[in-house]
């Protein structure tokens, strides 16, 4: 049984212009100790889905799902008191903006020890000792002195290390990292990602890494879930995803990587992610898809595991198939 098993998660917000569906029937699972990456452009609902799991969305959000099971427990309908015993202790999260994610009014030590105070029955001396140990484990020099430092005295990379120390204080079974390195400069990015990977491997902690950076995915992930406009469009292990993408969106994302481009101009995907008012009636990627046909305007079909669960009527790289044949078939479909 997977550590995390979410089926058909939908998150909607009531806005002045009607209901906005940020997450649209996403299913997701994560095994113990696995590194799963969720990829997608801005507005693809990757953060919202994870915030819904953590219960961090504002009360205006309407969260529904068929099931949301974490470590054998159903989170849907669980009382807030009970859920707070899981959130932070067994399931922790770090965010994109480390500098603003730490409370400026409290010392680093207070904020780390607060986590221990909330979820363990360590005494004051034990918490102090554990906090020093945690800061040391995330590679902060002079950890004892750093406990009394305020967040504004730390750099972005240091702040993210503190966030990781805090999130891993109770040795969670799952850590959700929401674009943990996006706000940092490149050399620090690599350090933070290394740190997360080594934590996951050493403690057998599952890691869900939300990113829009395919380079990060290639480096970190074991399995990848691609999201587009609030829907899961493809899911594969990382090697297969990079060699045989099945959804045209995934393929387009990959061909936009600078390393893969062979033309003078960097290829890009035309158009933008549909918003609240311009949602296509059928397949959501259809207006931007070069393989789209008439049937795509009616809806998209979910393919099987052999085709990466692609949400597409014309998946690429099918068995005994290639892009050329694909296009032929499309033409036939369009004329008939």
């Amino acid at each position: 049984m997977p550590l995390l098993d979410i089926e058909n998660l939908t998150v909607e917000f009531q806005t002045a212009g009607g209901v906005f569906r940020a997450v649209d029937g996403v299913s997701l699972y994560c095994e113990k100790g696995e590194i799963l990456s969720i990829v997608g452009e801005s507005g693809s609902g990757k953060s919202v889905a994870m915030l819904a799991l953590m219960g961090l969305l504002p009360w205006t959000a309407m969260v529904t799902a068929d099931r949301m099971i974490f470590d054998g427990r159903e989170l849907l309908g669980m009382s807030p008191e009970k859920k707070r015993k899981i959130v932070g202790r067994e399931m922790a999260m770090i965010f994109q903006e480390p500098m603003s994610s730490l409370n400026p009014c409290f010392t680093v030590g207070f904020q780390i020890k607060e986590m221990l105070r909330q979820h363990t029955d360590m005494n004051r001396a034990q918490r102090q000792e554990r906090a020093i140990e945690l800061l040391a484990s995330v590679g902060i020099p002079a950890p004892k002195e750093r406990l009394s430092v305020f967040p504004h005295q730390l750099s972005g990379g240091m702040s993210q290390r503190v966030m990781i120390a805090m999130a891993t204080a109770c040795q969670p079974k799952l850590l959700i990292a929401d674009e943990p390195s996006t706000a940092l400069d490149v050399t620090i990015q690599a350090q933070i990602l290394d740190l997360l990977r080594s934590f996951a491997h050493e403690h057998g902690m599952a890691l869900i890494l939300i990113t829009h950076d395919m380079g990060v995915v290639a480096e970190m992930a074991e399995r990848v879930q691609v999201q587009y406009a609030g829907q899961k469009v493809e899911e594969q292990n990382v090697v297969d995803l990079f060699t045989h993408p099945h959804h045209p969106y995934t393929a387009a994302l990959l061909s936009a990587l600078p390393e893969r481009a062979n033309a003078r101009r960097l290829p890009s995907i035309p158009g933008v992610v549909p918003g609240q008012y311009d949602r296509p009636p059928g397949c959501l990627f259809e207006p931007r898809c070069s393989f789209a046909t008439e049937i795509c305007r009616q809806g998209a079909k979910r393919q099987g595991s052999g085709l990466g669960h692609a949400l597409c009527n014309h998946p690429l790289n099918g068995p005994g198939d290639d892009a050329g044949e694909q296009k032929q078939r499309n033409k036939a479909g369009a004329t008939s």
Partner: protein
């Protein structure tokens, strides 16, 4: 820290000079003079009037009078009241505890009600409670103090007869002031019913005086809280699995209080201005009533020095608030 204090104290010097010039000249712009008003309805011979004016030194040119006054202040002599003949400072500090007691009670009411109301309104944004608080704060802020005071007197003293109309304590009780605070003195006196009487006398003027600061503090707390609740670190606090009470009451409130503390400090000036009206309406024997009475008597030394001392107190309170600010907000240091 020392450098910060010194630089702040240096700013006080021009402010003091400005206040002294304004206080000195404005009261002299009013028609009439203290001697004329002292003589009352009896007509005073012009020779006698000129003689007394000369004795008091009010026949000299204004700049000379001002410099003489300023010289006195710098040597610690704030002058003597024309009416009571007592040093202004003595009168001031005899009456000041009454104003301080009233103002302290008012600011306590404003803070104790205003901050929780603002926090709750922000947490339940858009709810009925929020709209009530926002609306009530707007009404309270816009209400003229003298009208509001009279309204409360009519309802609670006139119609319901729950509270007395004026004074600090019932005439039935008499005891020597120890602290100058009637609430404390009445308890110390041990007389039965004295404390209840003091509270009864205090409650209406304190509510009237608290109204504007309460409205300002509630609104400021609400908007500061709304801003803070959307911050990333509040989400982090919730991601730690902390209770909503701890997230709002500790992580958010601690940050929201930073602007609120400045606001509370600024309300001291509002309280002093409000005290003048409130004390007059309720015949509260404090600085405000004393100043108003002195204006109508054209008691020049009292007005000049009284205003100067009040301004000094307000400036000191603001300085203390600035120092406190550094304690509440770790990002500000006065080193």
């Amino acid at each position: 820290m020392l450098k910060f204090l010194l630089s702040r104290l240096a700013v006080l010097i021009p402010t003091f000079l400005g206040v002294s010039i304004i206080a000195f000249s404005f009261i002299r712009l009013l028609p009439g003079d203290p001697v004329m008003l002292m003589s009352g309805e009896r007509v005073m011979a012009p020779e006698r009037h000129a003689e007394i004016m000369h004795e008091l030194g009010y026949d000299r040119p204004l700049p000379v009078q001002y410099l003489d006054y300023l010289g006195g202040v710098l040597t610690g002599d704030f002058g003597k009241s024309v009416v009571t003949k007592r040093p202004v400072v003595d009168d001031f500090f005899k009456l000041f505890p009454a104003t301080l007691e009233l103002s302290l009670c008012a600011i306590i009411i404003a803070v104790v009600l205003g901050i929780p109301a603002g926090v709750l309104a922000a947490v339940k944004r858009g709810s009925f409670f929020d709209q009530t608080v926002t609306g009530a704060a707007l009404v309270g802020y816009s209400m003229p103090i003298f009208w509001w005071g009279l309204l409360l007197i009519i309802v609670f003293s006139g119609v319901l007869q729950w509270t007395p109309v004026s004074g600090r304590i019932s005439l039935l009780y008499f005891f020597k002031p120890v602290t100058g605070f009637m609430l404390i003195d009445s308890l110390l006196s041990g007389q039965k019913g004295a404390f209840a009487s003091a509270v009864n006398h205090l409650i209406l003027p304190a509510i009237v005086l608290a109204t504007i600061p309460l409205a300002v503090i509630a609104r400021q707390t609400r908007s500061a809280m709304l801003e803070v609740l959307g911050e990333d670190y509040v989400r982090t606090a919730r991601a730690k699995g902390l209770s909503p009470l701890r997230v709002v009451g500790l992580h958010a409130l601690r940050n929201a209080l930073i602007p609120v503390i400045t606001t509370v400090g600024l309300q001291v000036g509002v309280l002093m201005a409000g005290a003048i009206l409130t004390e007059t309406i309720f015949s509260w024997p404090g600085i405000g009533k004393w100043m108003v009475d002195s204006v109508s008597r054209r008691d020049y030394p009292v007005i000049q020095s009284g205003l100067l001392i009040i301004a000094g107190i307000i400036m000191m309170v603001n300085l203390i608030v600035d120092v406190l600010y550094g304690l509440v907000n770790p990002r500000i240091s006065h080193d």
